[in-house]
Symmetry: C2
Subunit: 515 residues, 2 copies
């Protein structure tokens, strides 16, 4: 069975209506989650990173009920400067669901989803953690869009803002979390909800933002749920091959022979490619929609497919198992040589198609691809690479100096590879935070390649790691489903219990404080 | 006896040599401390604030020994932006004393003085806390200059940088503490002092920076000593009249009749000023060097004198007592009417002079005056004012909207009066920080008018308030003297003990961490 269904039904910027709702709800959740952008880390290419919640190739707006109201906040462009141009403003989108809120009188909580590297509409409806838990806490739900994405673009269109070197400079995480700070203070004031505790929630890059927000703005957020947030994948904290080591482990655990096939396939591809007509042969065997120009296209495509399957290896379908099923001979095609088996993995993943688009994982018109490419080339320098024989992939070490040069030639400015650890920390995190900070959940699924850069051990009695052995990327903050395995149900329960403790303690403190 | 001695010996930008050292050391410490900039908060004037460690009218470089080596760090102009111009750099001055350092091998501590709104040379030599305690801790001492002051000016001279609206925008606290973060990480790396705990120290505005630094950069500073830091004098946290209420209390406690004379004097001055030749009469009676143009000049001068005496009411001379001695009849002149008594207070404070300069507290060529004026008109909006009959001063309420307009007309941009509480917090500080943060000392002298905006109660078992009933501004971080009263000696001892606890705990943690 194919994991990607009805792709042709996808269209961009769906508006929300009930017909759409029904249509979308009939899709498997995985549809929204498969993720992407391709390209392994390679010495002379800027690595494209998979940090998103879902597949940008399927940019579709999940529909949400009428309880979600959209607003815009007039946001400051530059929080950290007082030049005249710093005072420019833009309209930042946020969405509120008042339905379950207990109100300001009872200081009922506010759950705030911190938008990440995508239009907010992409996440609404799939981030179920807030709506699933709001009734129990009588919580207000607010979802805030990240600057430069979706409808929260300063100065014209996304393309225009990203093209202009003077405008895109303000597009970074420090400014973004300060947007959230300003906007949330405004919201509390506006609702007279002075003592409503705020819990911020985010996933992946947004999970980093959530944990950093609690660290930088403890006076605004009482606590943070940082789902699948690789806050330690910076500088030299995490081994470069962390990501691909876990992809490899996932495949090896699914099937030793599948792993072995993939491991061998790269040199087979190279060998065929080096032959006369080799690229034609590869194009034919992989049914590529356009003839391959280079074998790298194919290798990047496969790389992305395996990494995506691993990162979004969610438990209703387990894509890694599906791909390996194809490779090991359970797929539609019954090929027996290495190339044939690898292709069977592709078919198992995508289903039978007339052809396969090797650009599938790399849509250059997608905001997430374009926007996050800028972000990793300025501040979010995640050094993801791999050496010789330390994964099932060919070597592609992350070379900082060539990375810097590539970014410079693309954007005209150098990345700042030490900025994240300078501003947010990360080194020796337990030593630093065990007697400082409180109320952060770092949740991870250990099958998620990004868990290699996550916080996997408790730091203190309220800065806690909640991991699941079989989990993948951001599972816990997605909408609960009947089919969720028990370990996922338990993970969410544990998180809710922790949040409950934070809030209970806060109300006790508040009572004493107000006396 | 006059409190201001040998003023004519002062010259700007003294270079350090041993002759100077001797000369300066023979001066009473108060000489370096008397402080200033004038002008009460008034509805239509931008209030000038006294937040400095010493008197900008006496800008003199205290000399320090040869153990202090000067260095420059190539600092990033804009940490929060990636426009091409953000990458400009400037040379930031810092000074190191290696003498007592135990070295990187033993992870001996680093004490870092965070420069404030003055050239670093002003503070070196008078900030004795680091050098006095370094031997006991085997600590490295580092003193870092605040951006835009002294020799750490981006783009040309101080005047040029301040005049240019595109350049002065980068002159703010968030950028400044990030300078300290970058520079300290660089220093640790350079010294291979990876596990040397850093304790940051600052006074007044610099004390705010120290506490904020610990909150924002806990991965860089293990703890902070925030001396006389009015971090709660923002927004609506502290009553506007906090500052002048304490000035008033200081005078009332010194002498009820002195307080009463001052309280009455303002209307007497107004009455005389309204007469024909009234300004001539006032000029004569107060021996002003230039004829008064308006009675406000005189009133601002007296306002500054009283506030300065109260803020720097240090225990070897107690200037408030000296001024009241003059007013109450113990001064050189034996006047008996209100004006005469007030003038006797001036004479007691300054000593007998041929004339008195009403611009004394407001030197427009002083970097501190000019620089901090910009800072309060952009981010450091301290709403200091007073109402009718709530202090011994005439009413001068802080009017936010006219303040904003005045700043706008002076600098072309609006101040951001809620920025400090947005970025650093401050509201409900105990509720927020009791379960978050650690290792901050908020020290205050309760006779310091700025203590009204200070943290005067313990927040948790390691975020501690250390106050002295008779203390004034920043006393604890100045060099210890033989003549120091017991309560000041005890205050410093308590602070050292607290720091010792932090460091001991840290080394215990480190041992476990490294296992």
């Amino acid at each position: 069975m194919s994991l990607i269904q009805k792709q042709n039904h996808c269209s961009k910027n769906f508006s929300m209506n009930s017909a759409t709702t029904l249509l979308l709800r009939s899709f498997p959740l995985f549809f929204f989650l498969i993720f992407s952008t391709p390209l392994p880390a390679s010495p002379n290419k800027i690595p494209r990173l998979r940090t998103f919640l879902r597949d940008p190739a399927n940019t579709i707006s999940a529909s949400v009920s009428e309880d979600y109201e959209t607003f815009f906040y007039t946001q400051t462009l530059d929080h950290f400067n007082y030049r005249p141009e710093s005072y420019a403003t833009f309209q930042q989108k946020y969405v509120i669901n008042f339905k379950y809120w207990g109100g300001a009188n009872t200081s009922a909580p506010i759950f705030a989803y911190l938008g990440a590297e995508a239009p907010l509409s992409n996440d609404l409806g799939i981030i179920g953690f807030l709506s699933d838990t709001a009734p129990q806490f009588k919580a207000l739900q607010v979802y805030i869009e990240h600057r430069y994405y979706g409808e929260s673009v300063p100065f014209g269109t996304f393309e225009e803002a990203l093209k202009n070197e003077s405008i895109r400079g303000y597009f970074n995480s420090a400014q973004a979390i300060t947007d959230y700070a300003e906007m949330l203070l405004y919201l509390k004031k506006n609702l007279s909800a002075n003592y409503s505790p705020i819990i911020v929630v985010g996933g992946s890059y947004g999970g980093m933002l959530a944990s950093w927000f609690r660290l930088k703005y403890p006076h605004i957020a009482l606590g943070a749920v940082a789902s699948s947030a690789p806050i330690l994948y910076f500088d030299d904290i995490t081994p470069q091959n962390g990501y691909y080591s876990i992809v490899t482990k996932d495949f090896k655990e699914a099937s030793e022979s599948c792993y072995e096939t993939i491991r061998q396939s790269w040199s087979v591809i190279d060998e065929v490619a080096s032959q006369l007509n080799g690229l034609s042969i590869l194009s034919q065997r992989f049914k590529t929609c356009a003839k391959l120009n280079t074998s790298v296209e194919l290798k990047n495509y496969l790389d992305s497919l395996y990494a995506t399957a691993a990162q979004y290896n969610e438990p209703s379908t387990y894509p890694v198992t599906v791909v390996c099923g194809g490779i090991d001979g359970g797929g539609a095609s019954q090929e027996t040589d290495v190339l044939g088996r690898v292709f069977s993995g592709v078919v198992a993943y995508f289903g039978n198609r007339s052809c396969y688009d090797t650009n599938y994982f790399n849509d250059p018109s997608d905001e997430t691809n374009v926007g996050f490419q800028w972000q990793i080339c300025s501040e979010m320098v995640l050094p993801i690479g791999r050496g010789n024989n330390d994964t099932m992939f060919p070597a592609a070490p992350f070379n900082l100096s060539s990375f810097i040069e590539d970014c410079k030639s693309s954007y005209g400015v150098f990345p700042r590879p030490h900025w994240v650890t300078t501003y947010y920390g990360g080194h020796d995190i337990k030593l630093v935070l065990q007697r400082f900070a409180s109320n952060i959940i770092f949740s991870n699924g250990l099958r998620d390649p990004y868990s290699s850069g996550g916080v996997l051990e408790d730091i203190s009695d309220s800065v806690l790691a909640v991991s699941t052995v079989n989990g993948s990327h951001c599972l816990d903050i997605l909408s609960a489903k009947q089919s969720d395995p028990q370990w996922l149900v338990m993970q969410r329960k544990r998180e809710v219990k922790i949040i409950e403790n934070w809030i209970t303690k806060y109300y006790e403190d508040l009572l004493l404080f107000k006396k």
